[in-house]
């Protein structure tokens, strides 16, 4: 197996771990961490598949898209954290309404 496919498989596993954490854990900060890991998995698959070219220069288009994605991810994370702090301030718990303890 070439490194490209190895890293693509790692990306798939990271995606699934992120999805697992996103569904299972209640705390919003942990959900935000999970989304970031999930996104990293997607990025890894994209860039790994762009490296299926042997010794030549890899495809720059997925690289550029992943850089764009990383910046969008940090923007979304910052907004999500602000939302989490607001929820925490309003309800006293950083969880979604259905997970709230009475």
């Amino acid at each position: 197996m070439t490194p490209a496919f190895l890293y693509a498989l790692v990306g798939i596993v990271l995606f699934s771990i992120g999805l697992y954490g996103l569904i299972l854990y209640k705390h919003l900060l942990r959900k935000i961490l999970a989304i970031n890991i999930l996104g990293s998995g997607v990025f890894l698959v994209m860039v790994a598949l762009a490296d299926r070219i042997g010794d030549a220069v890899p495809d720059a288009v997925p690289h550029a898209m992943v850089i764009t994605g990383i910046v969008v991810a940090v923007s979304a994370t910052a907004l999500a954290l602000a939302l989490m702090l607001r929820v925490n301030e309003e309800t006293g718990q950083a969880v979604l309404p259905e997970d709230r303890e009475a």
Binding site: F5, I12, L29, R52, I67, L83, L85
Partner: protein, 325 residues
């Protein structure tokens, strides 16, 4: 042959470590520990990018993915009340069910990926064919600022929108500062900040310049600028209130406004929106990137600040560096 085996071993170990760190990040009950593990995960991801011949992505991951995201997460954690930083584990039944379902997902996705052709050139031939016309010789910068500059333009918009969202959510608790303000600033932090901030600004300029022909570019440069902003903010320096109104907003939007106006400026000469004549492309890209670096850096630092800086009094942001550039 020997060398290839060592590299493959390295890849396997790195891959397993990434998976282990991701798992530990999500399953450790202490949130502080989870965030520190996440930062370590980001740094190792940067190594993975290097192994995949993507040094531009590695730079972005190390500065933004690990560095700034980590700083954002830690500052948010500091503002949560201590009582609920821990979490109870969900029941075994739910964990097992979800685990089995996701196992099938992994199998299906792995099958799909492994059935792809082992050799693929993608768009690299197209990128290489037109690189002479793009004005830069780093293919990633060519894609970001020329071939697919719509992406980059909209991305600046996303960054600005996120900041607007954060600003409109923040400022609820005016009585509670995000960081405990004290009259005493750690002298080590203060000294290190004084030494590092000029270096960061210089390095940011270097990354911006070098992006035309080597790994680097506006996003990496902006992230380093933002790191300088975070340091300045942590050591309690404050922004003179006269800058936090119009001047701050001008710096925040200048990247986007400049990008759009450059995009339109050649429409009059029968070009499409964001299409640059090859003879000017190199200079235009540098100009656009310079404005974008400034906006990205200040926006990211402002995101870390988490609230709209007060037009007078104690809030601060690294605006001075922006204005004096």
């Amino acid at each position: 042959m020997e060398e290839i085996n060592v590299l493959l071993l390295f890849d396997v170990v790195l891959g397993l470590t990434l998976v282990w760190l991701a798992w530990q990040t999500l399953s450790s009950l202490d949130l502080f520990r989870a965030i520190v593990l996440f930062i370590a995960f980001g740094l190792l991801m940067a190594l993975a990018w290097v192994r995949l011949d993507a040094p531009d992505v590695a730079l972005a991951e190390a500065t933004i993915g690990a560095g700034l995201t980590g700083a954002l997460l830690l500052s948010a954690l500091a503002q949560l009340s201590a009582s609920q930083k821990n979490e109870t584990k969900p029941s075994l039944f739910i964990r097992l069910t979800l685990g089995v379902l996701l196992f099938f997902l992994v199998i299906a996705l792995a099958y799909t990926v492994l059935s792809l052709p082992t050799k693929a050139v993608g768009l690299s031939v197209e990128v290489a064919k037109n690189i002479e016309l793009s004005g830069v010789s780093n293919p990633v910068t060519a894609v970001l600022l020329n071939y697919r500059s719509y992406d980059t333009l909209l991305e600046l918009g996303v960054l600005l929108l996120a900041l607007l969202g954060v600003w409109s959510l923040g400022g609820v608790s005016t009585n509670k500062s995000s960081f405990p303000k004290s009259s005493f600033v750690n002298p080590v932090l203060d000294l290190v900040t004084r030494l590092l901030v000029p270096i960061f600004i210089l390095f940011s300029g270097y990354l911006l310049w070098v992006g035309a022909f080597a790994p680097g570019g506006a996003f990496q440069a902006g992230a380093v600028l933002a790191a300088a902003g975070v340091l300045v903010f942590l050591s309690d320096w404050y922004l003179p209130s006269k800058y936090s109104g119009f001047a701050l907003r001008l710096v925040l939007v200048i990247g986007l406004v400049w990008f759009v106006s450059m995009g339109f400026s050649f429409v009059l000469l029968d070009n499409a929106f964001l299409e640059y004549p090859p003879e000017f492309a190199g200079g235009l890209i540098l100009l656009i990137e310079a404005a974008a670096t400034l906006s990205i850096g200040i926006s990211l630092a402002a995101l870390f600040l988490g609230r709209e800086p007060a037009t007078k009094s104690d809030s601060n942001i690294d605006i001075d560096t922006g204005v004096n550039k």
